[in-house]
């Protein structure tokens, strides 16, 4: 958007057909701060098909939320600037549009469910859902409230019609999240971005919320982007995943294959650092070191200082995504050697 597009070679990391509801290419976001420039997202590409669930996974600070906000166009500028890339929503480039045009699409065709507490405390939940219909569609107030009541019923809020005029604080956390989903789904968008939708909820409620999202997805055929750091959730709910590290994509592929055979040491590390139910471990195996300083990203592969497989060329050679199987890509330079080595064990 800001011009300075480096024009990275189209490495085929996304298929070029126009059938995707959302197609993000080489998205780059930077934060220009007084202390320097933070490259929060550097060249992220992914696509999302109709009715598909794509998980974006990474540690805190890996740029997953920033990337989502950039896709929606709701980053605060300054300090954040989208410096390159394309975001094609059903074939139209969101980044090339005026803010006004984009605003009309938000809520209508692309929407977001944030973490808990995304409701305004001073309005009744029904009013907040109804606002979607009133503002975007110009539905009269009374009718919009009716629709809001129906929607609350649909997302599984008991005696919804009696509760349309209740305020957010009168609901439990899980119920509030249902309301937030109802709000985002009101206009049946083609793409729903769920930014850690279950983080603040306890496990049983998490399962219910994910089931609700899956159900809504089935009914409307929307594409769902699930931003999370919860790999358990990903294995349950997602079709494909994108693993992000330091604002860069390090691996993408179908959930099952990636879980069975990770193509990047970082993915491997992430999986090792979650506890397993079936075996007792004295301690988990965390990934050593800490997240790369985004103001000063290591040369070569950004993960090399923490990578157990790193060798000399990882520190200098620039990485890019390479195909490692059908629909699978990894940015690891040594992906084949590592795989052979581990298979040998």
């Amino acid at each position: 958007m800001m011009g300075q597009l480096e024009k990275p070679a189209d490495d085929g990391c996304t298929s070029t057909t126009d059938t995707h509801v959302l197609d993000v290419k080489d998205l780059a976001v930077e934060f220009r701060l007084r202390t320097g420039v933070v490259h929060a997202v550097a060249g992220l590409s992914y696509f999302l098909d109709k009715g598909e669930t794509l998980a974006i996974v990474g540690e805190s600070g890996s740029g997953k939320s920033v990337a989502a906000y950039a896709v929606l166009g709701i980053l605060t500028t300054p300090p954040a600037f989208v410096t390159g890339g394309r975001v094609l929503l059903q074939g139209r480039d969101l980044l090339a549009m005026s803010e006004n045009q984009r605003r009309r699409l938000r809520g209508n065709e692309i929407a977001m469910v944030a973490q808990n507490a995304s409701l305004n405390p001073v309005f009744s939940v029904g009013w907040q859902i109804a606002e979607q219909f009133r503002v975007h569609r110009g539905t009269p107030r009374r009718e919009a409230m009716q629709l809001a009541g129906e929607l609350m019923d649909r997302v599984g809020i008991p005696s919804a019609r009696q509760r349309v005029n209740d305020h957010p604080h009168q609901f439990s956390g899980g119920m509030r999240q249902r309301v937030a989903i109802a709000m985002a789904m009101a206009l049946e968008p083609a793409v729903l971005i769920a930014d850690e939708p279950t983080t603040a909820l306890d496990v049983t409620v998490q399962a219910q919320i994910m089931a609700l999202l899956a159900e809504m997805q089935q009914q409307t055929g929307m594409g769902l982007i699930l931003i999370t750091h919860d790999l358990g959730l990903v294995s349950e709910a997602a079709d494909r995943l994108v693993v992000m590290y330091a604002g860069r994509e390090c691996e993408t592929g179908g959930v099952e294959e990636v879980f069975r055979n990770p193509g990047h040491p970082y993915t491997r590390g992430l999986m090792k650092s979650i506890p397993h139910m079936d075996r007792k471990q004295a301690r988990l195996e965390p990934i050593g070191g800490s997240l790369a300083d985004l103001m000063n990203v290591p040369t070569g592969c950004p993960f090399h200082p923490r990578c157990p497989f790193a060798e000399q060329r990882c520190t200098t050679e620039p990485v890019k995504l390479q195909e490692i199987g059908p629909g699978r890509m990894s940015s690891c330079l040594r992906v084949n050697e590592i795989r052979e080595q581990l298979d040998g064990e």
Partner: protein, 305 residues
């Protein structure tokens, strides 16, 4: 936490019984509920209603008595029924019915105080919210202007403006509003900075709300409680500032009078006639306290957090 199994769409439709939405209680119903157990609140409401009725109808009934001098009845003591109902609160230096004077003054005082506070609240909080939301350079400039206004004595500012523009009701209201506007800007901006970062604002943006809608429908309602509390506190202050200006001769001009003006008048006769200064002072205090208590009641009624 009990949450039911998710219903499917089909099930939801059968659950649509009558499709009538639960009506929300009207404000008056909720207000009655809050007041039922709040003696102080009831008292405050009664006082406010009495003062407002007195200010509206009093001048119509006793307006003439307020200007009718009767030198034979100078400084009649209050609470003495010998001189008739009009003199129940005594008389002033020119033998005018003090009750009538108080009622006429009540109207002017309330008009000035209410208008000045409302104007300052609306404009001040709007400026504060907008610059708080926009941030950046606009914010910096506006806040420096607010700093200058804070550093400059507001009474002196009011004096200078009134001296150049000339006294009168409208200039007085504007001056009183402008002089205290900085406080509202500051409070509204500070609150906005906090609210702006909350997730529901981001969510609203993600669902397609523009900046104007966000400021007006997401931020303003949330910060309204703080701004209204501030406004009720400022109410008493405005009455007092007005009396100071009237005292200096730049407030309302004779024959218009205000409570502040009455105090200023009565100050000269404190030794002989305590009521001439005390009663309007009491009226100011009573009004201010009642408004504050009532504001708290209203806040509790509308509270949803």
């Amino acid at each position: 936490m009990q949450e039911p199994v998710i219903t499917t769409i089909g099930a939801a439709e059968t659950a649509t019984d009558g499709s009538t939405l639960m009506r929300r209680d009207r404000f008056s119903v909720r207000l009655r509920h809050v007041l039922r157990r709040d003696r102080l609140g009831q008292l405050a409401l009664v006082i406010i209603v009495v003062i407002v009725i007195a200010a509206v109808f009093g001048p119509l009934m006793m307006g003439d008595a307020a200007t009718q001098a009767d030198l034979g009845k100078r400084f009649v003591a209050p609470f003495n029924p010998d001189h008739g109902a009009a003199y129940i609160l005594g008389s002033d230096a020119l033998g005018r019915s003090f009750l009538a004077r108080l009622l006429v003054a009540a109207r002017t005082t309330l008009i000035i105080a209410v208008l000045a506070v409302v104007v300052a609240t609306l404009i001040g909080s709007l400026i504060g919210t907008v610059v708080g939301y926009i941030g950046g350079r606009v914010d910096a400039y506006v806040m420096r202007i607010a700093d200058v206004m804070q550093a400059f004595p507001s009474l002196l500012l009011a004096l200078i403006i009134l001296y150049t523009v000339g006294p009168g009701l409208a200039p007085l209201i504007i001056v009183l509003a402008v002089a205290r506007m900085e406080v509202y800007v500051r409070v509204a901006r500070a609150e906005t900075l906090a609210v702006r970062e909350r997730l529901f604002v981001t969510a609203a943006r993600a669902l397609g709300a523009g900046p104007i809608r966000i400021v007006l429908t997401q931020i303003v309602p949330v910060i309204a409680a703080s701004v209204v509390s501030l406004a009720t506190l400022e109410f008493a202050l405005v009455i007092l500032s007005e009396s100071a200006l009237s005292f200096l001769g730049l407030g309302v001009q004779q024959p218009d009078i205000t409570w502040g003006g009455l105090i200023a008048e009565g100050r000269n006769y404190l030794r002989d006639a305590w009521w001439v200064a005390l009663l309007p002072g009491l009226a100011i205090t009573l009004t201010a306290v009642a408004v504050n208590v009532m504001a708290d009641v209203v806040r509790r009624t509308t509270q949803t957090d």
